[in-house]
């Protein structure tokens, strides 16, 4: 199940997020480790942790502090659900 969700994340979250940033477009998506993510969240470094599962999956369990934007809905959401600062680190899972 998690493998499938990762694929959805790639298709419907990562691609739209980067679509209008051609210099980044060709790059691979960097991976963040568990310890790095935990440290950044604990340090309140302004990480935007984005969960791309369905709202039901999200409500079963999620990493504390995550925001839920189900895969496929990113184009429908209002911009105020995403950080205003385009330099914010967005971590998708």
């Amino acid at each position: 199940m998690r493998k499938r969700i990762s694929l959805w994340a790639y298709l419907f979250i990562l691609v739209p997020l980067l679509l209008f940033t051609p210099s980044i477009w060709a790059a691979d998506f960097p991976e963040i480790s568990t310890s790095d993510l935990k440290n950044k969240l604990d340090a309140n470094e302004g990480v935007f942790l984005l969960n791309a599962e369905s709202d039901i999956d999200f409500n079963v369990e999620h990493i504390p502090g995550a925001a839920n934007i189900p895969g496929g809905t990113l184009g429908e959401i209002t911009p105020d659900k995403l950080p205003q600062d385009k330099d914010t680190l967005i971590v998708v899972y």
Binding site: L19, T21, P30, N59, V60, L82, D87
Partner: protein, 132 residues
């Protein structure tokens, strides 16, 4: 959208749990028993058949009398499902992605929630009838 710093946490929840970090948990996990296609055929009249596949898959063939609410819309449309019937969840191949849908319905007060074992794939393999 122009975001410059996008990273992937591919270890996801399994990696997070393995490291011993906590999760926020809401909907409780409950038992969702399976129902074999042949057993379902005997119970068609008594049950509400909830087909959670995408609409185009449903339109290509479904069990007579079933109702299509794709899984990504269940949380918005579950009030359409009657509370006084046994609910049978029908997915494509009976893979584990249906499980949280069952947990969700139980959390909303639906007492009897079951899953068609093997989904529509198994139903068709047994040569059981389809509506189009």
């Amino acid at each position: 959208m122009g975001y410059k710093n996008v990273e992937v946490y591919s270890e996801g929840i399994p990696g997070w749990v393995k490291a011993g970090f906590p999760l926020d948990q809401g909907i409780p996990r409950t038992e969702i028993p399976p129902l074999a296609p042949s057993q379902l055929q005997e119970k068609l009249e008594d049950a509400y058949l909830l087909d959670i596949r995408l609409a185009n898959s449903y339109e290509q063939g479904h069990i007579k009398g079933s109702h299509n609410i794709p899984t990504n819309l269940i949380s918005q449309r579950f009030q359409e499902i009657p509370t006084d019937k046994r609910i049978i969840i029908i997915s494509g191949v009976g893979d584990p992605t249906w499980v949280p849908t069952g947990w969700f319905l139980k959390s909303k007060g639906y007492k009897e929630v079951m899953i068609l074992e093997g989904g529509m794939n198994a139903w068709q393999k047994e040569g059981l009838p389809l509506d189009k």
